[in-house]
Amino acid sequence: MENKLTRNLYVIPYALWILLFVIAPITLILYYSFFDIEGNLSLVNYKTFFTPIYLKMTLSSFWYAFLITAVTLLVAYPTAYLITRTKHKHFWLLLIIAPSWMNLLLKAYAFIGIFGAHGTANALLEVFGIGSKQLLFTDFSFVFVSVYIFIPFMILPIFNSLNELNPSLLDAARDLGASKWTTFRRVVFPLTIQGVKSGCQIVFIPALSLFMLTRLIAGNKVITLGTAIEQQFLVTQDWGMGSTIAVFLTIFMVLIMIFTGNRKKRGAKNER
């Protein structure tokens, strides 16, 4: 008897949390997406979303997220690989992860200084004889800063899967006469694809939705889905339209997760 009672009691706070902060918010977003700005039930938001303006914005948001993910992967994979080759690999990994604990806004702020009109980046360009350029508030600086911020999150899952790789497989490939490139292409990469996938997932979804970077670094040159949601909720105060974009962002997110297989996503974010 007592057993059952205590069990019911301790379950209450967590069950309430699921109800209030997981199920209710999703339902509310969906519910609000069917109301226009005056509060009438309508599908006008969905109609608006399928106008060229919003479709173009969605497409460009995807393009930037794709670009950011691709560049991050290209930089992160070799880094993760080389770290698994070092002596104190866990120590080096920790050093890679450490900057990601630093407040993201401060890192963005640093780049406001570096990319500024009289900043270090421009001073370097002067030295090389290229001459100073407008760097801040361009899409280049947006992609650069995003890649900078996401590198640790991409390295972590790739490192984990490379670390699980059995080294004797590499020896076997070499014994069988495979060149380094063939070994990588046929053995190493296929076996670490799960790490690459979860890395891409961890980068791609935030890249679609981070709004502070676009505001601080890209000026208003780049508008991502996240920026649009923030704009609708906090500036225009059109919760209906904001919710509709959020509904689509959620759908995209679920699709991406199905596409990249979410088997391992937990390990990666845990260790942030």
Partner: protein, 267 residues
């Protein structure tokens, strides 16, 4: 390990490390600049630090941030541990998986969506935007991470420990406090710690649910940075960087201790 790294590989790693750390040290370096800009260094000064410590408004914000982080980590750890116990105690596989998926929704959702949906929720519930709305949101998004840190420890625990305790006459409460909780303590600490850092770092969710009168450090940095460069922020980031490094090393030592304990032969 087997073969030493080639020079080019070392150079590549060096460049990556340089890029990762350069912006941070850039901020730290210019926090001592008497010139007032982040481009030419005129002379050494500690004025920005003095100004920082003289800024009561900012100090109150720092205090708010710490209070929110500690309170939300504490509450979310308690609720999260109960949640993990519940998920662990559920016998049917399907129900367990369904609960886990619900648990993970807030972890995988983009921050903007969490922030926007919490804004709707809290407004409908009639909670005034400010301290309590931020605290509630932080508790809410920290709970799932605590659950994820505690669950593996519960899974790892042998059920015969509980059976043994029951055979020896322990009641439900004693089993919980004398057997289960001591065993999962490392997980609880890790969860608390993660909740703390989640709360400290969060910007997007807080930005949505904070009203006009209340601000946390992240939100304040954002609004300062939007106005342009002020070396106060640099001084602040130096202090935060030192603090973060302390946290990282603390976490490193805790996890080192956990792993040795996990492998240990203390049984």
């Amino acid at each position: 390990m087997r073969d030493k790294l080639a020079l080019s590989s070392k150079a590549y790693l060096f460049i990556i490390f340089f890029i990762l750390y350069a912006p941070i040290f850039y901020l730290v370096y210019y926090s001592f600049n008497s010139g007032g800009t982040m481009s030419n260094f005129e002379g050494f000064t500690l004025d920005w630090y003095k100004e920082l410590f003289g800024d009561t408004r900012l100090l109150i914000i720092v205090l708010n941030t710490i209070v929110i982080a500690l309170l939300s980590a504490l509450v979310s750890t308690i609720i999260g541990v109960f949640g993990a116990l519940w998920i662990h105690s559920v016998k049917q596989r399907q129900t367990q998986n369904a609960l886990l998926s619900l648990n993970n929704v807030l972890i995988v959702s983009p921050d903007v969506i969490i922030g926007a949906s919490f804004l709707i929720l809290l407004t409908l519930a009639g909670i005034k935007l400010g301290f309590y709305s931020v605290l509630l949101s932080h508790i809410a998004f920290s709970i799932p991470i605590v659950v994820l840190m505690v669950l593996p420890k519960l899974k790892e625990m042998s059920p015969s420990l509980i059976d043994a305790a029951k055979d020896l006459g322990a009641n439900q409460w004693q089993v919980l406090t004398k057997v289960i909780v001591p065993y999962i303590t490392p997980g609880i600490f890790a969860g608390f710690f993660m909740a703390l850092t989640y709360s400290f770092d969060d910007f997007a969710v807080t930005f949505f649910v904070t009203g006009n009168g209340f601000s946390t450090l992240s939100v304040e940095i954002y609004s300062l940075a939007r106005r342009g460069i002020s070396l106060n922020i640099n001084a602040l980031s130096t202090l935060l960087f030192i603090f973060t490094m302390l946290l990282v090393s603390g976490y490193y030592f805790i996890s080192q201790r956990n792993s040795t304990r996990g492998l240990g032969v203390r049984k």
